[in-house]
Symmetry: C2
Subunit: 528 residues, 2 copies
C-alpha cells in the first residue's frame, strides 16, 4: 500500500480491465499480488537515494534488517546498531550449547541433542504472510509445513470428562453432532420459520443431517457412521476379524465441559489457518539469511541511550555493552525498531504525542518451555504427528515437533506456552521450577513424561533484557488514540516493528511495518 | 488381531494392570500399540515354518509382497507370480518417460519434467494407518506431510454464488456463523427447553457466541472479528495504512447453495483427518522398498489362468505375457492377492461360496488426471499450498502438490479425481478429451489454466488391464452375505488385498488383510 505506486497500479488495472475482460483483469491482479490476502505488493521499489545519504537503523531484528537491506539497495549508506551480539532479535532459536540469561542474571545452558531446538519467539508462518514468504524465497530460506490442525491431538480440561485427555476429533465431532441435532429439531418444530424460508429450512436440515452425522430421526447417536468421524472402539481392519465396532459418543453436557469450541475457533482464526510453514532447522534461519546480506552494516553490543535529531540529521548515543565506551552515530535519517518496552525508557527526541504513544502500549509476557525427551512417544504410542494438544492448565498447550517425524532419537516439544496471568506465574519461577511445572501439568496428558524426560529450557519474555516482553499488546482504545502518532514520521525518525503494525506479535507485521516506514522515509528524503 | 497372540497379550495386560496401576497399564498398552487407533499390533510373529514348506503368492502388490516378506522370514520358500513387468501393483507412480496402456491398446506417454509425478492410485497415508507406517519405517521409506485441510483452497459450485470459486474459510465460517445464530436464538426463545437443561443452555449459548463469532445480540454479521476468521476485505498491514477492513459475509441462502458442509464433513472423516503423509518422491517408493526385499522371488509377466488345489498342495497355471509360454507352479500353499475384478474371470478351484463372494463385489472406476503447468500459479497468485479445491463438476477436485513448495519450475497437480458416474464418463473419453475436460472444468476455478498448461496424463482404472477397476466397493448387503466367505481359508488357498478388508481402497487394508491371511495360513500350515 505504498503511496507512490498505488495510483499507477490502479490505472494499469483499469486499462487491463477494459482491454481484456474480467479474466485478464483477475490474472493481472493476482500476478501482481492483488486479490490475494495481503497488503504486500512486492518488495518496495526504492531507488535513487541522494548521493551520500545515510540512515542509521536501531535494532537488527527482521524490521531493522529488512530496512537496511532495502535502503542499501536504494543507495543509502546504512549502519545498524544492535544491542545483542547476534542479529535476528526475537527471530531466534535455542540449540544445545546455547546459553541465555534473564534480567536478574539467571543463566540457562541448553542441553538439547544436535538437531533439536526451541523457537522461543515466532515459530510459524501463515500462508498469507506474503512479505515473509517473499523474503524467505529471495534469501534462500527453506521452508517446511508446520502442522497446525491435528485431529488426533488432545483436548484436556481439568474439570471435564474426569480430567482425561480426549482426542480433538472425538469432542469436535460430538459438538457439531449435538448442535446439529438441536438445530434440526428446532427447525422441524417450526421454531425458526420466521427466520428461514421453507426452501432453505429443508436444505438446512439436509445439511445438518450430513454435517452432524444425524440419524433418520435427526438424532445424534453412537453408530459406525459417527465413528467414521470421531473414531472407533475397534477400528476397521483386515481379514476375518476386520469388522469395526462403534465408539460411544459423549453427552452434550460433557462436551460443554470440555469447551472444545475454543479449539475449534482457534483453528478457524485467520492467522492460524492451514497451510502454515516453518523454516527448516529453526526460525532463526530467517534472521541469519538477512544477516548474510546486511551483517557488515551491524555494530553489535551497542546499547542505545539517546536518539537526538534536528533539521540536519539524527545523532544516536550508545555504549558498548562490554567496554562501556560511549559512542555516537550521526546520520541523515533513523529507522528505530527498538521494542517500545525498551524505547520508552530511552531519551528520545520526538514529539510529545509520539512519546505518549511509545509509552501507551504494554507488552505481553509469554513463557515458552522446551522439553527434550528420549523418544517421540507422542508419535510412537499415540499417533500424534505435529500440531498441538490444548489444556486449561497454565502451560496452555503442548506442541509437537513438525520435523524429523518417525525418527528414533531424542526430540524436543513445546511443553508450555504460558501467556497472560499464567505467563507471569511462570516468569516468577526459577528455570527448574518452570520445567517441573511443565512436567507436572504435561503428564496429565502424556503419562510417559517423567519416564522419557531428559532436559528442558524456558524463555520468559518479560525477563529478557533486550526486549522486556514478548510483543506489543495494543488495546482498541490505545490504537485509536496513539497508533497514527506512533507510526508517523517525526522529523528524521521513523519507527518500525511489529508494534508499528496491525499484525502485532507476527514477523509479517514487523516486515510490513518496515516496508511502509522506509517507503515514507525514502519519499521524504527525496523531497528534503 | 492375530488369533495366536491375542490371549497372551490380554493376560499380560491383566498382570501389568494389577501390578502397576492404570498409568503403567496405559503405558504398556500404548507401547504395545493398543489404545491406539488400529488393529495393527506389530508385524506378525511367524516362525518355525515346516522344513521345505512352500508358498506361491499371486500378485506383487503391497499385500502380496508383505506376505512374501513375512513368510520368507518365517522360513517358507516363497515364489511370487506378477502379471506386470514391475512390482507394486496399484501402488505406483507415473513420471516423465513412463508410458501406460489401457485395455483397448491406447497408450499414453508421460511428459512430466524431472521430479514431477502423478500417483494414479493411492496417494496419502492417514496417521492411524500404523501398518503402513510401520513398514515404511522398517523399509526406509521417507515420508513427508500431505496437506489435507487447506482453509485457503476453493469451494466451487456451478449454481452457487455466481459460479465463482470461494475460499473454504469464507464459506465454512459463514456456515457455522449462521447455524450458531439460528440455534442461539432458538435456545433464547426457549424452543429447546425440554431438551437442554438451564445450565447447559447458558453454556451452549456462550459456546455458540464464541464458535460462531456472534455479536452481542447473537447475530452473525459482518465485522472485523468475523473477518478474523473468514478473511478481510483489506487484511491487516503495517505502518500508516495498516488498518484492516471487514469483508462482507454471505447469506445463509448463498451458503446453502455452496453445499460447503460436504467439504466440512469430508475433513472430519476418520481416514481423511490430519496429520497425513506421503512418501517423498512418489507413492511407489513403498512398493519399491518391498521389491528390494522380495524382488528375487518375483516372476514377472506371469498371467495366471488357473488356481487348482488338492489335499497335497496348489498348482497355479500361468502364461508368460511376452512369449505365451504356459508354465505351472506347485506349492504347499497359496496367497492370492489378485483383484476380484480379475480373479472372478479365472478358473479358481475353491468353494462355491467363495466363488460367489469373489463375483459379488463390484470395482470402482475412478479416473485421475495429472496436469503439468509452467509454474505454481496456485501458490504464487492465490496462496494455496497443497490441499484440495472442490467442485461439483465431474473432476470433483483439484489437488495441489505437497512438495517443492515455492519452487520456480513446472509442477503437476491432480486435475481430476472423477468417480461414480463421472468416472465412467471420463473413462469413455480419449486421453486428449480427458485433458480437455479437466482444463475446461478447472479453468472455472483457476483462470490461469490455459495460459500455464504444458501437458497431462490420465489413468482410468476401469480400463487398466491388470486390475480392471480401482478398488472393491462392498455394499453392506454384500458384506453380510459374502465377506467371511471371501476371507476364509479355503483348503490351501487364502485371499488377501484391500478387497479382503474393512479398509477397502486403502493400502492399510491390503496390508492388514495380508497379515491376517498369512497368520492364519501359518497356523494351518503348522497344524497340517
Amino acid at each position: 500500500m505504498d503511496d507512490i505506486n498505488a495510483p499507477t497500479r490502479r490505472q494499469l488495472f483499469e486499462t487491463i480491465g477494459k482491454a481484456g475482460g474480467l479474466v485478464a483483469l483477475y490474472q493481472s491482479m493476482t500476478a501482481l499480488g492483488h486479490a490475494a490476502e495481503t497488503q504486500f505488493h512486492g518488495p518496495p521499489v526504492l531507488s535513487g537515494a541522494k548521493k551520500g545519504a545515510t540512515v542509521v537503523v536501531l535494532g537488527a531484528g527482521l524490521a531493522g534488517m529488512l530496512a537496511a537491506y532495502e535502503l542499501a539497495k536504494a543507495g543509502y549508506k546504512v549502519q545498524i546498531l544492535e544491542y545483542q551480539t547476534r542479529a535476528g532479535g526475537r527471530n531466534y532459536t535455542l540449540r544445545g550449547g546455547d546459553s541465555h540469561t534473564e534480567i536478574d542474571g539467571t543463566t540457562q545452558q541448553v542441553g538439547f541433542a544436535p538437531g533439536n531446538y526451541l523457537n522461543p519467539g515466532p515459530w510459524r508462518i501463515p500462508h498469507h504472510h506474503r512479505t515473509l514468504l517473499h523474503y524467505c524465497k529471495a534469501l534462500g530460506v527453506a521452508l517446511e509445513p508446520f502442522i497446525q490442525l491435528n485431529h488426533n491431538a488432545y483436548i484436556h480440561n481439568t474439570d471435564a470428562l474426569g480430567g482425561k485427555p480426549i482426542r480433538y476429533k472425538e469432542l469436535a465431532t460430538d459438538f457439531k453432532g449435538h448442535i446439529s441435532e438441536l438445530l434440526g429439531k428446532s427447525l422441524n418444530q417450526g421454531a425458526l420459520d420466521d427466520k428461514v424460508t421453507a426452501e432453505d429450512k429443508e436444505r438446512l436440515i439436509d445439511a445438518l443431517r450430513n454435517w452432524g452425522v444425524l440419524d433418520k430421526k435427526l438424532s445424534y447417536a453412537s453408530s459406525l457412521k459417527v465413528s467414521g468421524q470421531r473414531g472407533y472402539d475397534v477400528p476397521p481392519g483386515g481379514g476375518v476379524t476386520g469388522a469395526p465396532t462403534a465408539s460411544q459418543i459423549d453427552s452434550l453436557h460433557d462436551v460443554l465441559d470440555s469447551k472444545v469450541w475454543n479449539t475449534m475457533s482457534f483453528y478457524f482464526t485467520y492467522v492460524m489457518q492451514t497451510t502454515m510453514f516453518q523454516p527448516v532447522g529453526g526460525i532463526d534461519m530467517i534472521g541469519k539469511a538477512f544477516a548474510r546480506e546486511v551483517g557488515q552494516m551491524i555494530t553489535y553490543n551497542a546499547r542505545v541511550s539517546k536518539i537526538a535529531q534536528n533539521d540536519q540529521g539524527v545523532e544516536i548515543t550508545y555504549a558498548d555493552n562490554s567496554t562501556g565506551i560511549v559512542g555516537t552515530v550521526k546520520a541523515d535519517w533513523c529507522v528505530c525498531t527498538i521494542p517500545l518496552s525498551v524505547l520508552g525508557q530511552l531519551d528520545v527526541q520526538v514529539s510529545d504525542a509520539k512519546v505518549a504513544a511509545i509509552k501507551a502500549v504494554p507488552y505481553s509476557g509469554m513463557v515458552k518451555t522446551g522439553l527434550e525427551f528420549k523418544r517421540r512417544f507422542w508419535e510412537e504410542d499415540e499417533s500424534i504427528y505435529g500440531g498441538h494438544s490444548f489444556t486449561d492448565q497454565p502451560i496452555s498447550l503442548i506442541s509437537y515437533p513438525n520435523f524429523d517425524f518417525f525418527k528414533k532419537s531424542p526430540a524436543v516439544l513445546l511443553g508450555a506456552f504460558a501467556s497472560g496471568a499464567a505467563g507471569y506465574q511462570f516468569a516468577g519461577m526459577t528455570p527448574e521450577q518452570r520445567i517441573e511445572a511443565a512436567l507436572a501439568q504435561g503428564e496429565k496428558i502424556h503419562p510417559q513424561y517423567r519416564q522419557e524426560f531428559m532436559n528442558g529450557t524456558s524463555v520468559a519474555w518479560s525477563r529478557v533484557p533486550w526486549t522486556l516482553g514478548c510483543c506489543a499488546q495494543w488495546s482498541e482504545d490505545a490504537r485509536k488514540q496513539h497508533y497514527q502518532n506512533l507510526v508517523s514520521m517525526d522529523g528524521r525518525v521513523v519507527l518500525a516493528g511489529e508494534h508499528a503494525s496491525y499484525y502485532g506479535c507476527w514477523m509479517e507485521g514487523a516486515m510490513l511495518s518496515s516496508i511502509d516506514a522506509i517507503t515514507r522515509l525514502h519519499k521524504r528524503a527525496l523531497e528534503a
